[in-house]
Subunit: 393 residues, 4 copies
């Protein structure tokens, strides 16, 4: 439940991207709607001005705040008085435009929710970290899988040390949807992801491998030290890889396997992580997100389930429904919005976010992700067996 009433008003959200034909924009709007205290009141919903305006009319945006492009949005909203201007901007465009939009929004003092991967290059990511810090705006990256309660439970079990020391992380994300080369049939989602100009240096690792990296860091806190990567383009004629297998060596001695694929026939969104520790292990799978398998030698494997009294405080806070009423993708996505909204409200009320600190992915997580993506691409091209992770700090 949002703490709307403390502020006495709804937060004002603008959206860049997410118009007609887009996928993730509607997800953001549903997530914001679930939060319950956010109002979409401005937008520049497409890179094509006509489509942007038509999309805004679909959503009943007030005409004067239905912008033809993001530059107009940033410029005009900046001139509005504080009691009218938007509080935060959701950036839901293809990868390559995240950076200029996010930088402009930060410089204008807007808080930001931005899709992943955060930028097109690591260099841009480093710059964005600096700008966000200088402007002191709140920045959340929608690595939405961190919003699932049982992911938060997993994080608690590992980071609290209850399972002992991390020995091995196996994280994988197979999908099958790019096997048939849908970009050749004009499928928009496939087209931009396989186009270096819009997606950056990577398709599969950038789009979903980055979720694996983020999830493993979110749960374990471990930093990768060096990796060995084998990236493959299985579909002929594609400019970027559609599959990647990576061995990982973490700081401190843990080992890892990370793999992602967009050409694994019949797989939908089968993100799964297993963390093996010295005193127990856990397994979580995105397609059945309400369960967390916890195993210890000599004990029956247990299925921790969302919404129960034995869950940790972070999991409980991220839970809106009783046990047995399944939560899904949208509910987890909404938790990112809930965390951001809570932080923004605290800021507007002149306070630091109340304890506990919101736990959404940050601009630093975004930079770590870009370092991972560029390192994976470089490692794959290199003869070197162990490729050190690029610096992002």
């Amino acid at each position: 439940m949002s703490d709307t009433s403390d502020l006495g008003r709804r937060l004002r959200l603008a959206m860049v991207g997410g118009g007609r034909d887009a996928f993730i924009g509607a997800v953001h709007r549903m997530a914001a709607a679930l939060e319950g205290g956010i109002e979409l009141c401005a937008g520049a919903l497409s890179a094509t001005p006509e489509k942007a305006l038509a999309s805004g009319r679909d959503l009943l945006l007030p005409p004067e705040r239905n912008y033809p492009d993001w530059q107009a949005l940033v410029a005009d909203e900046s001139t509005l008085p504080p009691e009218k201007r938007v509080d935060l901007v959701a950036i839901v465009t293809p990868n390559a435009t995240h950076f200029p939009i996010a930088k402009a929004c930060a410089e204008a003092g807007f808080h930001i929710l931005c899709d992943k991967p955060m930028t097109r290059t690591l260099e841009e990511a480093r710059t964005l970290v600096r700008v966000v810090r200088e402007q002191d705006v709140i920045f959340a990256l929608t690595h939405n899988y961190t919003g699932y309660p049982m992911v938060k439970q997993a994080r608690h079990l590992v980071r609290s040390g209850e399972l002992g020391r991390v020995l091995k992380v196996v994280v994988e994300y197979p999908q099958g949807w790019l096997l048939g080369a849908p970009e050749k049939a004009g499928q928009k989602q496939a087209a931009w992801r396989t186009d270096p100009a819009q997606a950056g240096c990577s398709c599969c690792i950038g789009d979903i491998g980055s979720h694996c990296e983020n999830l493993s860091h979110y749960i374990t806190g471990l930093e990768m030290k060096e990796i060995c990567a084998d990236l493959t383009t299985f579909v002929p004629g594609r400019a970027l890889e559609d599959d990647g297998n990576i061995l990982v060596r973490y700081e401190g001695g843990a080992k890892g396997i990370l793999y992602a694929s967009q050409v694994s026939s019949g797989e939908e969104n089968n993100l799964r992580i297993r963390v093996y520790c010295s005193e127990g292990s856990l397994e979580w799978r995105q397609e059945e997100p309400n369960d967390l398998q916890v195993r210890r030698e000599g004990e029956p494997p247990a299925t921790w389930r969302r919404g129960n009294p034995y869950n940790c405080a972070a999991a409980a806070r991220a839970t809106t429904l009783p046990p047995g009423h399944p939560e899904g993708f949208i509910d987890a996505f909404a938790n990112i919005y809930r965390g951001v909204a809570r932080a923004v409200r605290a800021r507007l009320a002149g306070a630091e976010p109340a304890s506990p600190k919101p736990d959404f992915p940050t601009v630093e997580d975004g930079a770590r992700g870009m370092a991972f993506i560029e390192s994976a691409v470089a490692a794959a091209a290199s003869d070197r067996k162990w490729f050190p992770l690029k610096e992002w700090r």
Copy 2:
């Protein structure tokens, strides 16, 4: 996606019940928010006036439409001009008050979303059917499990005849939450459900057995002819049953088992239905709602999954996310709101709901459910082996 823009405005929703301490009210608000074209703009959110008003302030209701009780809400809203008055009312109070509120709303011409079971008695239900028909208002009963896409897929597979003739239906709903007598500890949800004055003649069958009845009818279209019931109160001192086992004989020769329990230790919300037909069978389980098991003799069992091209049109319409992005309880609940909103918008636009017809549970389904509940209680008390279903038409 809502077809908001055709109307050029959001639908106006009022809520009765659902204030502080309530559970299902928040679910309704999230469901309405997901629909995307509905605005909560009035409420009488509790049976206690002070709590009602405080709850309305939490939700930023305009003070003049934040009512102390439902009578005031119905009276005042009825006097507002059409361009201001609410379009529909969500009734989310304990069972016993559904009837007077719904009757008053229907008589005032408001469209209605009402929680289940529909009324306290079958007699009330029959009256409500009559009033709703006379007033020609849209009435939806929130048997929310019918909102799941794979339930719609199951309905399609059975009703289209693809699986042949229905031979046997096994539907069950075990929960464990009432095993420890939480009503004695003041848990509000447990307290009213175990209190005949608020819940009616039944606890377990009324609360969750009615979902079983509704789900089996929704999927198969079969009408129960006679039943044999064994209801039990396992927790000492409880006035209503907390467990029930029922044998069913359907019109046309199919047989059935229906059971519900609130004292099944460790069960959460394990609603499951299996339909065995002459050419195949299916199984659906609410706790993993994105899957539908389909089996045919001599073929490998298949797991039909939400969001895929092989799904039927009704399942596709009820789907908002791509395959592998799990949908859950809220998404299914929102589908009830989506269906109602679509019907209301068509009505406001002066048209009948466009084809296809919305498929949410109706006032007639609610009456059928009340006939089932009263029949189950009477059958359990009777020495008669086969008890004919009470008439609800």
Copy 3:
């Protein structure tokens, strides 16, 4: 591992039935072979003398102990000196002949393994109980599902009281193989099971419902007090029922649902039992027999797995392989043979079976089963709602 060496020789087994075209005879032979200390050395393997002799030759039986019929086997083996005659006889014929063969074997002093259901009628069963007791022979009924380690674990958890008082038992056994009327195509297994002359008064309940009854008694120890039955013949022209739904009231107040079906499309051998107790519940499914689900309110559900240190002594004794090396149907069946062989060796060594007592189903369990079968058939034909279980003692 068998304790063969204590006796210094293998046990001598004769088999009646189980020749060419039979199914369960080969299962018995594999089970006996797994025990490791049993030798098949005589047989009357078919009701047709020529087929019996040919089947014996297939199995390399010594010609002088390859009998044309069971009467010859019993007569001749009885005249052999103790150091040559068979120790035990496995009876694997269709139901109707179990009684005369078993009675003759018992009267000749042979120990017996007999297929279920034990006899054709309850009257025969009562007689057999008397004869077996008078002759003081060891008698085991091959309700083989009791041989699974995790069934023994379930029995331990319930009977030890660790889960509290039993409230409800749900046991079910759906199969689909009789849906297409294979008896009309001359399938032998289907033909005798649907023929009253060979199967007795029941098909579905006798063949698999009896496993449900036995399993629920084995695990809980509860006696049925009264039942309400609805038996159906779905396939036209069949003389016996192929589906049955039964409500159960146990002595002491527990309630139950028991159902079996042979016309449930796509089901293989989906025997499942759930036992709900006041302090926890368990669930076991025959098709994944190495797992036992154990649930308690407020704790993560646990999957107890075979072969682990936390298993009870009875489960451990029934385990031959380490955890993760799945055991199956044959291994469970072999546990019946292991128990019988242990009892027979103790008897031959002049001792009572060492502690712990073997826990295979007995002649009394067989009589209880026949009482259940005849009661179910009578209850289904009766107008009486609650039909008291017939006496078998």
Copy 4:
């Protein structure tokens, strides 16, 4: 069912190793017993003569064929006349002694079943290939997982081309039993596997990684071209690795991930293989071996189950029980014995094995496995990113 009767006698089996305290010897004896036409009639059951003889007495071996050591067994059995001497020898000792025993048996003309890994070194393996070919004896390596019917089904689906071209193989085998350093507590199975003198150059990869390699080759037929390996010893003080992560490049362009671990807390024997092809994918898991998941883009995922009419001929031949009666580890192991016995009987009858050819792992598969093991160890020690597989031919 064995074709015993064609030969008119049982095959005579000798066993080397497998006495008191051993694990796998009893498995071999159960597997041989299930075959139904094999008789254990000689043995040298331990490396310690006294223990060997005591173990033979336990098993009721005839005293004159209960040998104190394998040298005596080979020498004496060789002098027996053909109608008495053993037909085949099962070698179930620790890895390091496989080679001398197998070589001696082959040179004496005995057919052989040998445990895996086949030898201590690749060099020994190459020699053994030569000797087995020269002596023209039948040699089977007990990579027992190839005996599962659904593994044969997987092989058929891939090798027949029904799923298109293989793109990616992910095979993994996590166990947890070596996490607690049981070798320090004197556990015999752990002690020899972690001792280079008995196990060879590898613990984890040799013991279970080799099953992964064999399984992936058995199903796909693909040969590894080069690998990149990261082997780790997580338990301090252990001389050999207990965990390994390997990237694979196959001849022809397929990619792979192979990993094995003995320190994955709470894992039992979780061998799993996924094969992603251009037209579909499959997944098989050893702990639920009766199922094979088959997926194709745009179709509901299917669970192919053992024992059904849609299974291929090789899977059907490896099946002894109807669908729904689960088969397990022993049944699969017995299929190796069944294949060998069939080949040996054909040879004894003067014929080549009847079509279809037995499909058990051969001496060449054993050599391929040793090349993999030595390559993995060398690759892990090397700075080279891609290490070419060692030659074994």
